[in-house]
Amino acid sequence: MRRLTYGQAISEATVQCMEADPSIFVAGIGVDDFKGIFGTTLEAHRRFGDKRVFDIPNGENAMTGIAIGAAAVGKRPLVVHPRNDFMFLCMDQLANLAAKWRYMFANGTGVPIVLRGIVGRGWGQGATHSQSLQAMFAHFPGLHVGTPATPADAKGLLVSALTGTAPVVLLENRALYELEGEVPEGLEAVPFGKGAVTRPGTDITIVGVSLMAYEALRAARILADQGVDAEVIDLRSVRPLDEELVLTSLRKTGRLVVADTSWALCGVSAEVAAIAAEKGFVSLKAPVRRVTPPDSPAPVSKPLEDAFHPNPMTIARACLDVLKAAGASTKGVADVQATFAGPY
C-alpha cells in the first residue's frame, strides 16, 4: 500500500470527504493561510476555495455553537483548533449542548460537528499549549473522541467522523505529523470504539493513548531486547472505548500497563485500569501500572520537559516492574539503562 505521513493522511481524508459530501465545510483560525494547519487544509482550500474552507474571527465558544447551528440544518462543519488547549473555551457548547442535543431534544437528528484539536507536544510549548485533553472530552456521553496515532487511523477516524452522526473531537498529536505509514487510498472508515492490537505479544499488555500508542511500540522493542514479549494496544478511540479488546488481551497476558499523554487522575489511564479491575479482574496476575505525566503543568525548560512526558524508557521500566512484581520469571531480564538509545 502507498505510504503517507500522518499530516498528509488528514489532508487526504478531508479532501476526499469534501468531494463526496458537499455539505462539509472547514472553518478555523488560519485554515486558509500559507501554513494551512501544518499542511492539512492546504489542498482542501486549493480545491474547494474560500466558500468551503474559510478563516474565522477568534472566538472559540461561538465558533462551536456556529458549527452546531450549521449542523442542525444539514451542514457538516469541520472546525480546526491549532491547539486543543484552546478548546477549554468550547466546553460549554461542546459538552453542554452538542453532546446533549440528540438526547435532550429527542427529535431524531443530532449535530454531527467535527472538531480537530492538535496536541502541541514538545519544543517548549509549555503549560497552556501542550496539553492532551482527551479525558475531559471523553467524560461526556454524546461525544465521540478519537486519538489517532498512525497515518491510517488519522485518515480513517476523520472519515468516520465526517460520515457519522455523532459530534466528534479528534485529538491529533503534533509529534506524529511527520510519521509515515501505509494509508488506504479510498474512503475507508476506522470506526469509533475499536482499538487495534499493533503488536501481538504474550507477556504483558501495553495500552497506549495517542502519541503513547507509538511510544508503546518503541517500548515493546526495548522489552524484546530484554526477552519480554509485550502486546501493544492502540486505543484509537477513547469514547466509545474498546473494552473488549483490552479484556481479550488481558486474558492472554494477565498484566497491564497503560500509557497516556495526559495526567493520571480521572484520565484515560484511570479508565483503562478501572476496566481491568471491574471486568478483567480474573485475568489479572499483577497490579496494573499507569505511565503518565506527573502532577504538574507542563514545563518549558528542556530537561524538565523531557522528564515530564512518558517515553519508551519509562513505559518499558513500568512493564519490567509489573513483571517482577508479579514474580514472573523475567527470563534473565537485565534492568533497562536510562542511557539506552534504541534504534527507533
Binding site: 474565522i56 474571527p57 472566538g59 465558533m63 452546531i68 447551528g69 440544518v73 443530532g110 454524546g142
Partner: protein, 320 residues
C-alpha cells in the same frame, strides 16, 4: 392595519397567555416536575416577530421559550406533554420546559444556558447563506444574556460573515433578580452597543405587538437582502417570578408599583383596545378567541395527563 393580521396577532397572544396562565395555575400540583420560566406579559415580542417570519424561517430561544415556541407554531399538545414529562412531549420528556423544539414548525432549539443559542442561530444562518437560501434564523434572548461573551462573538461573526440572522433582545429589565443597571453600563443602551458592531439595530416597545411586527418586518427585509444580520431590542416586562408560577413583587427586588404599572400596559389589553377601536374585531370575537384557546389548552392538559411516561428501558436512547 390589515384586519386578518391584526386578529392573528391578538389571537396568538391570547393563545399563549391562556396556555401559560393555565399551566401556571396547574404548576403547584407538582405534576410538572421541570423548572419553568413563564413569559406572561412578554407575549408581544414572540408574536410580533414570529408573525413576520416565513414558514421556512427558523427560531432559537433560551430558558424562557414557551411564547417563542408557540408563536412560531410549535405544537401546544407536545409542549404541555413535555412539561408533564410524558413520552408524547416535544422532547419525549427528556428535555423539559427549557428545551422546547419543534423542527417541523421551525423551532429548532431552546437552551437553558445563557447565550448558547445565539451562536447556534448564527451557524444556522451561515448555512442558509452558504446555500443562497432566503431563509432567516432568529435568535431570541434576554437582556441578561447580552453580558455573556458569546453575545459579542456571535454578533461579530454574524456581521463579518454577513449571515441572515435576526437578533431579538427581549429586555425585561432583569436577569433573575438583578436590575439592568447593576449589570450593564447605564450610559449606553443595548441597542446602541449592538449598533456598534455595524448592524442595523432598532429599539421598539416590546409590549406593542404591532410595533414589534413592523420593526421585525423591516429588519427581516434587511436580512433577506443578503446585507447581513439585524438587531431588535424590545422593552418588555416579566410579570411572574423568574422561575416558577408565582407573583414575587413582595420579594424586595422590585416593587408592586412597578409590576402593576407594567400589568396595566398588558400587551393583550392594549392590542384588544386598538382592534376594537379600529373596528377590526368585536368583544364577541375576543371572547371566542379566548374560549377557543382555553379549550385547546384544556385539551392539551388532559391529553398530557393521560399520556404515558417514557419507558425506563429507553433511558439512554438516542445518546449515541
Amino acid at each position: 392595519m390589515d384586519r386578518e393580521l391584526g386578529r392573528r396577532l391578538l389571537g396568538d397572544m391570547i393563545r399563549i397567555r391562556r396556555a401559560e396562565e393555565t399551566l401556571a395555575d396547574l404548576y403547584p400540583a407538582q405534576e410538572m416536575r421541570t423548572p419553568t420560566h413563564f413569559s406572561i406579559g412578554q407575549e408581544a415580542v414572540a408574536v410580533g416577530v414570529c408573525a413576520a417570519l416565513h414558514r421556512t424561517d427558523v427560531i432559537y430561544s433560551g430558558h424562557r421559550c414557551h411564547a417563542h415556541y408557540l408563536a412560531k407554531g410549535g405544537s401546544l399538545d407536545a409542549m404541555v406533554a413535555e412539561l408533564y414529562g410524558k413520552e408524547t412531549g416535544c422532547a419525549r420528556g427528556r428535555g423539559g420546559s427549557v428545551h422546547l423544539s419543534d423542527p417541523a414548525a421551525g423551532v429548532l432549539a431552546s437552551s437553558a444556558i445563557l447565550g448558547q443559542t445565539m451562536a447556534v442561530a448564527v451557524g444556522t444562518a451561515l448555512a442558509f447563506a452558504m446555500d443562497g437560501l432566503p431563509r432567516v434564523a432568529v435568535s431570541f434572548f434576554g437582556d441578561g444574556t447580552v453580558e455573556e461573551g458569546i453575545f459579542h462573538e456571535a454578533l461579530n461573526f454574524a456581521v463579518v460573515k454577513k449571515v441572515p440572522v435576526l437578533f431579538v433582545c427581549e429586555n425585561n429589565g432583569y436577569s433573575t433578580h438583578t436590575r439592568l443597571d447593576v449589570r450593564q453600563p447605564a450610559s449606553v443602551t443595548i441597542r446602541a452597543r449592538a449598533a456598534s458592531y455595524g448592524l442595523p439595530a432598532q429599539a421598539v416597545d416590546g409590549n406593542d405587538v404591532f410595533a414589534v411586527y413592523d420593526t421585525a418586518q423591516t429588519a427581516l427585509t434587511h436580512c433577506r437582502s443578503g446585507a447581513g444580520p439585524a438587531f431588535i431590542e424590545c422593552a418588555t416586562y416579566r410579570w411572574r417570578e423568574h422561575v416558577g408560577p408565582l407573583w414575587d413583587h413582595d420579594k424586595g427586588y422590585r416593587t408592586k408599583a412597578e409590576v402593576d404599572d407594567w400589568v396595566a400596559r398588558c400587551p393583550i389589553k392594549s392590542a384588544t383596545a386598538r382592534l376594537l377601536r379600529e373596528g377590526l374585531c368585536t368583544p364577541a370575537d375576543v371572547d371566542a378567541m379566548t374560549r377557543a384557546s382555553q379549550a385547546a389548552v384544556n385539551h392539551a392538559v388532559a391529553a398530557a395527563k393521560a399520556a404515558p411516561f417514557p419507558a425506563v428501558e429507553d433511558l439512554t436512547l438516542g445518546t449515541y
